[in-house]
């Protein structure tokens, strides 16, 4: 009985102690332990917002984000860094030394290093191969990666993103605020194995997917533009090239191509991500394409009509002490080289002298107003990072020659899209048609929001636009732009061949900007296209840029099923005859023709080099007595007589 009592007492005491301890833990320190437990079990999982996609106008993916695997290491768990680096390097296609550095970086005793990136967003096959190695301390996490399924097509337009997300350039940068989305987080209690504990605290803030961006660009037309331009850049040995196609009816930019010419180390190639999107960023002097603005403004203000006659000599001296302006081609077959040309003839022949005679009827301010009215000197409606506004001389700084240089496209700096905008204005009956690259956005719920079409403003009357269009048709049918003709359609356009300015002042014969800008069908304009080739082996815009224009615009017309407006090929036949008489094939060489053209170009360049080497030897042999003359000749060779004076000399 007594033993039973003792046992009972001990049992009660034991249970009492346990109850007291439980009471102490629960009541006295309960809050502290609860907090500690929650802290250990609660995990905050960041929910990365998926970046929006970039589509072309037909919904084809140009850029999209997909989840890929990133390989990381916990150096504190790595047992043999040297061996692991050696095994991982060939699998990850990474530098073994760099891997070894990462794997060996265990941090300090106070602050051990638990995470080192080894390879970002590797392909599935690479990830599987790395996982198969089963190396200690090597881990894998999913990470969103940007993919460009269309390859290099429109790469300079789309731009690129940094590895951690933000857009660096191009559309990726311009619309980063839309594409990026908003990150979320999931706070959840998990067991040590990483499984969610049911019926526990769980807070979720969903990530908001980025908005999709639909561009106005057409992937097929973009490819065609890049393909045609690239082959012409290769064939002519140009330094670079650009081409843009705009839908005149709504201002949509359907194609925007940039090509970089060959260098001693790299072949010519379509501009990649990170390269300049030349039509929106590169400034150049437009040359004769600017005559469109001069003549339209002169027509609009009644200074001339299409039939106004001018006596046009081969050169004109606007001031006694200033070098004269020349036409590019000599005036042969007429007395004293003086042509009797109408305004339309001046446009057709792209006469500098004739255009200057027209500009003489205008005030400085009038011409400057015309340039601004057509959109020069200000950014276009396209939203683009660091888009330049261009450079225009103030009329107060025209001095003796500024007006005339400006009238023929010198002394002004424009972007390609600005000049195309001016032609689109004429194509649109005298009302500006602001270009746009953003067609629509699609929000995270899948609702499409069409981007606003910027309103245009009238620049010239419909009559002026119509007269100008007819004159531009003449340029193609029977003038400098014959190679721009397209079978079954009437084309209106203007050639341009601008000599490039030297850093030391004046202009050089050795480098030109050859361009052609036009629209088709001229009687019912649908597409306006610009083609510019930089330093294209000294050839005119009508020879090198017009064929590219023809090829790209023909593709666009056929792709969009535009009704032919000249099935009798009246303009095309006439233009072909003119081109054939000038010995121009009007073709963009592709395939085997391109190879032949490149060989011809190499032979020409080698012959030119031999010639210049021979001349240099002859010069050296002639001795010091003739060195002054040689220098003078060289000077004349680099600053041609037909050049307009450099406006900066007259400040």
């Amino acid at each position: 009985m007594r033993r039973l009592g003792v046992c009972s007492a001990l049992l009660i005491l034991g249970f009492g102690l346990i109850a007291a301890r439980v009471g102490q833990l629960q009541l006295a320190s309960g809050a502290k332990y609860k907090q500690l437990s929650v802290k250990l079990a609660l995990h905050t999982i960041p929910l990365t917002a998926q970046r929006g996609s970039i589509f072309d106008r037909n919904g084809r993916d140009l850029a999209m984000s997909i989840e890929k695997t990133t390989v990381y290491a916990d150096p504190t768990l790595v047992t043999d860094p040297v061996a692991e680096a050696a095994r991982l390097a060939p699998v990850l296609h990474a530098d073994e030394h760099a891997l070894l550095q990462g794997l060996s970086d265990k941090g300090t005793a106070a602050k051990p290093r638990h995470f080192v990136y080894l390879a970002h967003t590797v392909d599935d096959a690479v990830a599987r191969a790395a996982q198969a190695l089963k190396l200690p301390g090597i881990g894998f996490v999913p990470e969103s990666a940007r993919s460009y399924p269309a390859g290099a097509v429109a790469a300079s337009v789309i731009g690129r993103v940094r590895s951690d997300g933000p857009g660096l350039d191009g559309i990726e940068r311009q619309y980063d605020h839309l594409l990026a989305g908003k990150s979320g987080e999931l706070v959840v209690e998990q067991d040590p194995m990483g499984h969610d504990i049911p019926d526990t605290q769980r807070t979720r803030v969903d990530a908001q997917r980025g908005t999709d961006v639909v561009l106005t660009v057409d992937e097929d037309l973009q490819w065609q533009a890049e393909y045609s331009l690239l082959d012409q850049v290769k064939a002519t040995g140009a330094k670079s090239g650009m081409a843009v196609v705009v839908d005149v009816t709504n201002g949509d930019v359907l194609a925007m191509a940039s090509v970089l010419g060959a260098t001693p180390t790299t072949p010519a190639a379509v501009a990649g991500p990170g390269d300049n999107n030349a039509p929106l960023t590169d400034l150049f002097e437009p040359g004769s394409t600017n005559k469109l603005i001069t003549l339209s403004w002169a027509l609009e203000h009644g200074h001339v009509t299409a039939d106004t006659k001018f006596l046009v000599p081969e050169s004109i001296q606007v001031e006694p002490n200033v070098a004269p302006y020349h036409d590019a081609e000599p005036h042969t077959g007429v007395p004293n080289g003086i042509e009797k040309w109408t305004t339309a003839d001046i446009v057709r022949e792209s006469s500098n002298v004739g255009t200057i005679e027209i500009a003489q009827r205008m005030h400085n301010q009038e011409l400057a107003d015309g340039l601004r009215a057509f959109g020069l000197g200000k950014q276009t409606a396209i939203e683009w990072p660091y888009q330049p506004a261009g450079l225009l001389l103030s009329p107060s700084r025209y001095y003796a020659t500024g007006k005339y240089s400006t009238a023929i496209g010198y002394g002004v700096a424009v972007t390609g899209i600005q000049m195309l905008d001016a032609f689109a204005t004429i194509a649109n009956g005298g009302v500006t048609r602001p270009p746009r690259l953003l067609g629509a956005t699609i929000d995270a719920k899948g609702v499409r929001h069409a981007a606003a079409v910027p309103a245009g403003s009238r620049v010239v009357s419909p009559n002026t636009a119509s007269v100008m269009t007819q004159m531009l048709e003449g340029v193609v049918a029977n003038g400098t732009g014959a190679c721009a003709a397209i079978p079954s359609y009437v084309v209106a356009g203007k050639t341009g061949t601008a000599k490039k300015a030297l850093a030391t002042g004046g202009y050089t014969d050795a480098a030109t900007m050859a361009s052609f800008i036009g629209f088709a069908p001229a009687d019912h304009p649908r597409f306006a296209t610009l083609v510019v080739l930089d330093e294209n082996n000294l050839r005119y815009g009508g020879e090198v840029a017009a064929p590219v224009f023809s090829e790209i615009t023909q593709f666009a017309l056929q792709q969009y099923g535009v009704t032919p407006s000249d099935v009798k090929n009246t303009q095309y036949s006439a233009a072909r005859a003119v081109a054939a008489a000038a010995g121009n094939t009007c073709a963009v060489p592709h395939g085997s023709d391109l190879v032949a053209a490149q060989l011809r170009l190499q032979a020409q360049q080698a012959a030119a080099q031999n010639q210049s080497a021979g001349a240099a030897q002859a010069g050296a042999g002639a001795g010091g007595a003739t060195s002054g003359r040689t220098g003078s000749t060289a000077g004349a060779g680099t600053t041609t007589a037909s050049l307009p004076p450099d406006p900066s000399k007259h400040t």
Binding site: D61, P149, A150, V153, V567, N569, P589, H590, D593
Partner: protein, 160 residues
Amino acid sequence: MSAQPSPRSRPAPHATPRPGSPNRGDGARARLTVAPEVARRRLRARLLMWAAALVTVASLFTLVAFHVFEAQSAFKLERLSKDRANEQLRYERLREQVASLSSAETVIVAAAKLGMVQGGTVVNLPVSSARPPGGPRVTVQPGSPSESYDKTKQALLAAP
């Protein structure tokens, strides 16, 4: 303790008074009337006990079952969530594959592998010169599109 009889000392309901014992007619009658009430109480208590036990067991079972189902659902939800993520990933990869395979660059490369070559200069043949020298003359039907080109063109422009 109360003066009431113990539930265990069950009295005989119809006990015959022994001869010579004092007459306890009123008291016996009273016990006889009480006995059925006690039995009912006992029965009720027993039923209540069983019911409480049943409810407790059922509640416990329901609670456990509920938790099991909840845990199962949570795992199922997690699995579904993973499946959804995998399907989403698969969809995106397929979308990328489609976009990549249908891009102009890929088509050109594939065509080249099939032996196709890029064409050289494209020559456009005007319709008027399409007739070979000495070939049969093409007669234009009166009222055909070629004949009434302008009319056709206007019609096409009106409804492209």
